[in-house]
Symmetry: C2
Subunit: 343 residues, 2 copies
DNA sequence: ATGAAAGCGCTAACAT
DNA sequence: ATGTTAGCGCTTTCAT
């Protein structure tokens, strides 16, 4: 009880103790731990043995204090829990990030920022100096978070083109415009002439760009582009939008939805209304997620290389961290169209 | 360039500078920052002003070094990315955890441990002294991670009863047995007499207990309990299991699946085989997730209070952190049956 | 190749 | 109520 350690990390051996055990100085142990080459084989072994014997693990706080690095990067997702854990998009991204970061000694840590309160916490966490950099994803409109982090001198990379392009922050995005264009054009080519779209949120570039792609395709084909209903990428919004569209025009024969979830919702509503997919109405989604594979009929969908996007994000961030003055340009990755049975 | 700061956190004002600016000592500033009451109103104001003026933010590394606390707790999910971001179960849990932790000054950080490599990283991270405690979820079989963390003197709480109950670690779980029993009994009461089950992984208590519940219900009703096929909670495994079951016995008229995802897979296979749900075969799932609400017909499912489970996990962990010697007992929360159209 | 020593920025115990 | 001081455990010059 009165022993020298009531504190949590008590008893943990220190550099000092390892040094004593190995009969060398602190500095030498430090060199061994950090893989310096300027250590003789003999001492190297002695120190290693001592480390092993004592079960020494470097104290990060002490190390951070002097190096100013934390070897941790933060993934901030600006969505509510339900969204984050419902959208398969994030899975690929996280995997991609993890893969790439595994090559470095950076550890990935994830935090949600779906509410103001959470955003504030994330900001404080980052400003406290607990991370070397941050990847932000799913930013809406004029989220102040990226700006605040940059102001706090924290390297930041974004997922998805920021709406206000003045930001100048490096970002990675899928070619949403081309993807949407290809999807819409596909509907046209299989014979649809009354093609509607269900958009994503218009405060995100992904939402805006996919709508633009739809428009571009139809303008090129000289089709009408008026059948637009807005959604928020979520399933329920897709159902709502589809109902609205059907009410406005019941001759619709093709639908391009800006997310698989919305497309799935639309398919359900179409069925409720007695429309067969794809015979009466063809449907294309966006994301090529699990959802698309599991609708009935299986859904044709635009694929984005989420995993590669994660890879690129990691690379960009590492670059920013290692060369704070570099401003790597944006990375735009190509999308594809995966043909299944719904269109 | 030769200025005193090329390092990342360079130029950040320190306690010392704030003290100078406010004309007081370091100690006093520290007291203000940490909310000590023993400070006169005057100096309090002076210090606050100085902090404001200089934009001072305490350096966490320095603070951690002396306090031995990080104010961070880790949520470790022992699943692959695809799983984590596909199962809505996690959303509720994370939300519950966040809610409760928001009352404290603990920050939640999430890490995946789906591969050995990731598990190793997580272990190192925790042993490095970067977290005050950890919540582990989705443990399989004899995962060594919890033991290692405990050995490293890190407070740990588990989600789901550990299979080897000798561990003695505090945990939170849903009453899986009762839930499964209620689901199965419901099938019996609506007239099913050939009731099959699709189990979860048998290296997790949730899988084992739900199967036990199925058995208990049928034994009580004197029904046969032989129609068992194994799955892993995932959709594909549900499809596989359903096919297998139909091959073995095509008079099956009720199915209890240990997860919504598997139940959804089963429903699809049933439809493929020309069985109508619930008319020919009634189906009950487990989780009461979004998936259950979106099948056609909507799925009857066992609900677990995931959010409350998250709350309780946080409470347990906080207790463990604040009183390292306390060993709070397990918390088992009740499940319910949500009636929809599939049974 | 190695040791010695000067901090990194903060908290907390002790004085006053 | 406030100042003083001794570290927390580590990295990193600077000598040798």
């Amino acid at each position: 009880m009165t022993s020298p350690g009531r504190t949590r990390a008590a008893g943990r051996p220190t550099l000092e103790q390892v040094a004593a055990e190995a009969g060398v100085s602190r500095g030498t142990v430090s060199r061994v731990v950090n893989g310096s080459l300027e250590v003789s084989t003999n001492t190297l072994h002695a120190v290693r043995e001592a480390i092993e014997k004592l079960g020494y693990v470097p104290n990060q706080a002490a190390r951070n204090l002097v190096t100013k690095r934390t070897d941790t990067v933060l993934l901030v997702v600006s969505e509510a829990e339900e969204r984050v854990f419902g959208e398969p998009f994030f899975a690929g991204l996280v995997r991609g990030l993890g893969e790439e970061l595994a090559r470095t000694n950076l550890q990935l840590s994830l935090m949600l920022a779906g509410s103001d309160r959470q955003r504030e916490r994330v900001e404080r966490f980052a400003r406290d100096g607990r991370v070397d950099g941050a990847v932000l994803i799913s930013l809406h409109g004029a989220d102040p978070l990226p700006g605040k982090l940059v102001a706090a001198d924290i390297p930041v990379v974004l997922t998805g083109r920021p709406l206000s392009s003045e930001s100048g922050m490096p970002f990675v995005d899928a070619d949403n415009l081309s993807g949407a264009e290809a999807a819409t054009d596909h509907l046209f080519r299989i014979g649809c002439r009354r093609i509607a779209t269900i958009t994503g949120p218009q405060d995100m570039a992904a939402g805006v760009d996919r709508l633009a792609g739809y428009r571009a395709a139809l303008e090129f084909r000289r089709g009408g582009t008026g059948l637009v209903a807005h959604g928020d990428f979520g399933r329920a919004s897709g159902e709502r939008a589809m109902r609205e569209l059907l009410e406005r025009d019941d001759t619709i024969d093709g639908v391009f939805a800006a997310s698989d979830l919305m497309a799935a919702g639309a398919m359900r509503v179409l069925r409720e209304h007695g429309r067969r997919v794809p015979d009466d109405v063809a449907v294309v989604g966006f994301d090529d997620s699990d959802v698309a594979r599991n609708t009935d009929p299986a859904m044709t969908s635009v694929s984005q290389p989420v995993r590669r996007m994660g890879n690129e994000l990691a690379r960009l961030l590492v670059t920013r961290i290692e060369q704070p003055d570099s401003v790597p340009g944006p990375v735009i990755l190509p999308t594809g169209l995966v043909h299944r049975d719904s269109a």
